[in-house]
Symmetry: D2
């Protein structure tokens, strides 16, 4: 039996819940097929601790694929991140009160890592099934990007373990009064069931356009 | 048995479906309680014809309440319209190829009518249940506003029949590649079941803030 | 000599300045041609007082044309308002601490008034000169709409006095850190010089499209 | 005499002009002080050719500082780019009809380079002077990012030459009918005069927050 590790974050920024955890929590123990099972873990919204939690989970579970999820309030689609950058700039303090500014995730690490998931193929699959999705070229400079970068750095010598990051919109109840997009958690769960098999099939991505002009 | 009339539009503007009809269609024949039943009708996206269709349906069904729904691509919430204006300005032709510009809905009619639904109370109910909703102060200048104005004009001497208009976001499958908000049709259906009983209870609206600065 | 009355508001909502006043202030005393002079007045951002100030200015100056300006943070264009509604719903208190909710501007007044300015022609002139402008179908429910409605109500029996309302974006210094559009005050001043002669020429508007779908 | 090289692009995507060139063109030959002069060059909006043009200009002029500018329609602020990524994904063909998809800028190059300009300090200077500006964490995947990456790759062993990329909003005449932000070209020129001295002073950046959550 192979393992897919999904992670979601605890709430932050004054929110009561975090849709990334609400979604992946529903898939803990879910069998994608006879050979692949999902394990879900919650990460703290804390710069140092979240990296350690993810590192421990990967060491323990030896997953063939890791997809970390995070909430991105204001996004209108499921956003599969292309690039993790070696840069932290916290606009608000994390849940432990730390607010690093202008710091690297890994001292002396490279400027960036690309995801090793076939994200265009995953996006394509979701769009075919009526679920708004896109490739994103920035994961921000907060805990999400930090966890993404730390994960790719940890796995840099293990090319067989595919890994990436998915930003998801607010859940509807979070969007009340904010006049921003939301997506029901059930739709995120359905999306994960649809795109994870695509991610397992191949690391080769589709040669279709998913770029932005600026 | 009392009747609530719900209307939705046929597709327009190159879309394959219209979520306003997909939603109300599911509620045709639905009994809200022992005394109130919903009847759903589709309206053409044609300036003259849609007004006639609605007029005929109201004359035939003698509803106690009418809520017309329309698609508003780009909106992030369920938008209950406050005001219908006596003005048509079609940015695109309707489904019969007509494109009136700078014309009144009703010659010599008043500049505007306000909805007679307790829309703040309806919005409030939805927000309490985790569904993004708001009061809107413009229904545009296309077929939606035209139907809304014609309906309020028809009912102006029948104060017991409450009436209004609800703009809804794109369905998710319509939002693909547009980078705009969407809302699943099932959530719209759930919202209607929650807010229609509020609309039946009283025409007195809540004294809570729902304004915009500009 | 004929008079055009321009009004702008004092700052509100925690802002240090109001671009509507910064713009019209520059045009106080400006002669549009041999026969027409501009007089500019500042209005308080207070529901009752602003109406009284405008009423007094109109009675005193007997203008042939009145254009009231207001700040609309977040708008991307100069927005000429089509319709003033008889409805107040203050999201924040005005500068005198009053916050009316769900109230009419004029008890027993009609639901709405349309502007009597040829706003499509004015918008058209600005776009030809490279200045972003559009017709808007909601002036909100705060002091701006209230002043607009009260003005049209005061002038309803004086069809020779054309009147309307123009919402303008933030000035650049207000937009700092808000990630919203701004427009330099000098561009607003230039726009007024370009579109006021159009407004004087005729009350007949152009038959061009300026509508919105929803 | 030291040289600052500014570049702007030719028009693309059906536009008649490109504000990046309109702005830097005005500064060609401008002396920032007794020791520093600006030289401005136009780049083609063509993937290969633009890189070659920039390489030639740098070799010829031996600038102490290079700032490449590009148009970013829809942005609301002057956006100083933090990171250039080794990835091309052209949503539209370039001006030579080429549309590379999923390709590296430099085969075997690192995933990304960071700018060597003190961009927080530059942004800070502009905000203090009332000009909307921000740090951006994605330069897209089109010609702008490609030129930015190629430039940083060329200069990677010349740490004394500071270099970076600035995305600017549409000019007002481009924004007509698009309902998006614009910024007058004169304001961009004024911004460059204000922030280039800051860039010359030090490569050490300020330790102030300029991050994004996602």
């Amino acid at each position: 039996m192979h393992t897919i590790l999904l992670t979601g974050f605890e709430p932050f920024g004054g929110e009561q819940s975090n849709p990334s955890w609400l979604a992946v929590q529903q898939l803990d123990g879910y069998q994608l097929d006879d050979e692949v099972q999902i394990v879900s873990r919650q990460l703290s919204c804390v710069f140092e601790k979240s990296q350690q939690e993810l590192k421990t989970a990967i060491a323990e579970l030896k997953p063939v694929l890791v997809l970390a999820l995070g909430q991105a309030g204001g996004r209108t689609e499921l956003c599969f991140e292309k690039v993790a950058i070696n840069f932290i700039d916290a606009r608000i303090a994390d849940n432990a009160g730390q607010q690093p500014v202008g710091a690297p995730v890994v001292a002396e690490g490279p400027a960036a890592y690309f995801t090793t998931l076939p994200i265009k193929a995953m996006v394509n699959r979701l769009k075919q099934q009526g679920i708004p999705a896109a490739v994103s070229y920035t994961a921000g400079t907060y805990v999400c990007n930090t966890v993404f970068y730390a994960m790719m750095h940890q796995l840099k010598d293990k090319p067989k373990v595919r890994a990436g990051f998915l930003h998801i919109p607010y859940a509807p109840e979070q969007a009340i009064g904010k006049a921003v997009t939301s997506m029901p958690v059930d739709m995120v769960v359905r999306a994960l069931k649809l795109c994870l098999p695509v991610a397992l099939q191949s690391s080769e991505d589709l040669q279709i356009v998913a770029g932005t002009l600026d």
